[in-house]
């Protein structure tokens, strides 16, 4: 067997790794589209802001699902905790948005760290159940603690201040859109850095083969809890963004439906490729906006049908289809 550590190979390996996470031209595409959308669709900026915030939520799910391979049906827990943290702050006289985001991230991240440390000992269906139960427990708690959360009526009376005291949240959602865009961009840079770091590679290893990662001495349990907490913090930021830009938080922020739909949006785009969220979320939310205008009940039928067809015919989502088309074209 030839040694991997021969000096020449070493340089080649290092170069290959360096090339892995170099920025590519197509990575600018989502951002160009987002900036162009600001000017072209200026009647829909409120929806646009929601889409951008939800992309961040889907990105946080991608981190645990696509990279660490943890299937979760309860990520709304962290989204909701972040939304309520930012919302309660703003309703009680601290409407500064950026510190609100940070506090929401810290609170949601802590909930993720604690619940992750407890539930990530399990795996498979039991883990799926545990994520579901954590979210349902928080939903139940928020429902009952109506003196803080407003219960089933939702949290009202939020007042969010201007960003840096300069940019007021306007009626058309211009500030909201740009605010969400900037936050999403910063979070995306961080996620991109994480998945290409040694930590991210270890996560890939855990997803692909846990036994081998244990065998080479990788601290599997700690890595899983770490990524869960990071992802929870991102989901919290996303929840806080939606709370601040819509000035409202309802119980649906914590619901199973939200955990489920974000999973669907991500899968429609493609899991574990960092860009699935950028494709799936706009597709889903724009279609939902159009179809719900006709009849919200029908929308459920069509999205259900799309999910079934997706599993049967188009595994890997839109990005999977693109990849397949590219391979077909090459051969």
């Amino acid at each position: 067997m030839t040694s991997l550590a021969a000096p020449a190979d070493h340089a080649a390996v290092r170069q290959a790794f360096a090339r892995r996470h170099r920025l590519r031209a197509y990575e600018a595409l989502p951002w160009l589209v987002a900036v162009a959308a600001y000017f072209v669709f200026d009647n829909y900026l409120a929806l646009g802001a929601q889409i951008l915030a939800t992309i961040l939520f889907a990105l946080s799910v991608d981190l645990v699902l696509g990279y660490a391979g943890i299937i979760t049906l309860g990520h709304a827990a962290f989204f909701g905790v972040g939304a309520y943290a930012a919302g309660i702050l703003a309703a009680h006289g601290w409407g500064e948005p950026i510190s609100g985001l940070l506090i929401a991230a810290i609170v949601a991240g802590s909930v993720g760290l604690v619940s992750g440390a407890v539930i990530l000992r399990t795996s498979g269906l039991t883990l799926l159940m545990q994520t579901l139960v954590v979210a349902t427990m928080l939903l139940e708690a928020a429902n009952k603690a109506s003196f803080i959360t407003g219960g089933a009526d939702g949290l009202q009376g939020m007042s969010v201040w201007s960003i840096f005291g300069l940019f007021r949240f306007d009626l058309f959602g211009r500030t909201a859109y740009l605010y969400c865009l900037v936050v999403l961009f910063l979070c995306w840079l961080m996620v991109r850095r994480i998945v290409h770091s040694p930590f991210g590679l270890a996560l890939n290893g855990i997803r692909e083969n846990v036994a081998r990662m244990h065998a080479i001495g990788s601290p599997v349990g700690r890595r899983r809890v770490d990524v869960y907490a990071i992802s929870a913090a991102l989901a919290g930021i996303s929840g806080a963004l939606i709370a601040q830009t819509t000035q409202f938080v309802g119980l649906t922020a914590l619901s199973l439906e939200r955990s489920g739909t974000v999973l669907i949006m991500l899968i429609i785009g493609g899991v574990g490729q960092l860009y699935g969220a950028f494709i799936g979320v706009p597709l889903y939310m724009i279609a939902q906006d159009r179809f719900s205008a006709i009849d919200p009940v029908y929308w459920y039928f069509w999205i259900g049908l799309i999910m079934v067809l997706l599993v049967v015919f188009a595994r890997g989502g839109v990005l999977g289809l693109i990849e397949r088309a590219r391979r077909l074209w090459r051969s």
Binding site: V118, L125, T126, V133, M137, Y298, Y300, I303, L310, V311
Partner: protein
């Protein structure tokens, strides 16, 4: 003192009735999950089909109770066999994520279809005259329908256990749950076994949904709203077991009734906390197989 005793008896009675319904609905899910390793979140859809078929037949076509129940089971079995052959089959042994996605899709479709056909209001259950009112069991009276539910549940549980322990079909299922490849190599037709047990589980779910329409109201969100409870029964009981879900359903049914009676403010919260603790203590459930 008599008040406390009366409360305990009442909780036990109503808890038992709820437990029977939960068990009937969830036992099929436990078998399909244990047998085929399939995360079937849409199992509640079959219970919902049973509930809708039964309430509609009874209230609109005034079909008698037993006939309506039988028709409900047949309807759910037919739908389940079609879906199993058409969709579920493709994902056996596949990715858990795909299974979650597809069955969530089926739930969403069921919500829309039920909404379209029956509207958003929950369907009233018209009890037959024989079963409405109360029965006198010596020292106090009990609601007749719930007594009937408990009796039905007890009979069905016994039949199921005997069926699994004493019949050839039951032995095939047990063999396939224990070791699928070995079961295949000794010549058990597992493909047919899957379809049959899937249909059986769905039929039982329809039975539970139909019989329990009075306890778990039938509305379009049925499959989604009750999903957590069905999953709790299966996960706490242990996959692939018939006894486990029974114990879990008893626990959940009585705990749910007791908490709603004693602590209506925090009831559901405690149920979830208990589930979490139980699953941390025994990740494979109370009667789960160690593999």
């Amino acid at each position: 003192m008599t008040d406390i005793l009366a409360a305990v008896v009442s909780i036990a009675f109503h808890g038992l009735a709820l437990a029977m319904v939960l068990y009937l609905i969830s036992v099929g899910l436990s078998v399909t999950m244990g047998l085929m390793g399939f995360v079937n979140l849409a199992h509640g859809v079959f219970a919902m089909i049973g509930g809708y078929a039964m309430t509609t037949l009874m209230s609109r076509a005034s079909v008698p109770f037993p006939l309506a129940l039988a028709a409900a089971v047949v309807a759910a079995v037919i739908v389940s066999v079609v879906l199993e052959r058409l969709l579920y089959r493709r994902l056996y042994g596949g990715d858990e994520l795909d299974q979650v996605l597809m069955t969530m899709g089926l739930i969403f479709m069921s919500v829309a279809i039920a909404n379209y056909l029956w509207g958003p209001v929950s369907q009233p259950m018209q009890l037959p005259r024989l079963l409405s009112g109360h029965v006198d069991l010596g020292y106090r009276e009990f609601p007749a329908y719930r007594s009937f539910l408990i009796a039905c549940g007890a009979v069905l549980v016994t039949v199921l256990w005997l069926g699994l322990e004493r019949t050839r079909f039951g032995a095939h299922i047990r063999a396939a749950v224990d070791n699928l490849r070995m079961a295949q190599s000794v010549g058990i037709n597992t493909s047919r076994l899957f379809t049959l047990s899937f249909a059986l589980g769905s039929g039982l779910a329809a039975l539970g949904g139909g019989l329990g329409a009075d306890i778990i109201p039938i509305d379009p969100n049925y499959a989604l709203a009750n999903l957590v409870y069905f999953l709790i029964v299966v996960a706490v009981g242990g996959l692939g077991s018939i006894r486990g879900p029974f114990v879990a359903a008893l626990l959940l049914g009585t705990a749910d009734t007791a908490f709603k009676y004693l602590l209506p403010e925090l009831g559901a919260f405690f149920i979830y906390a208990l589930t979490m603790a139980l699953l941390l203590w025994r990740p494979r459930g109370l009667f789960g197989l160690v593999r």
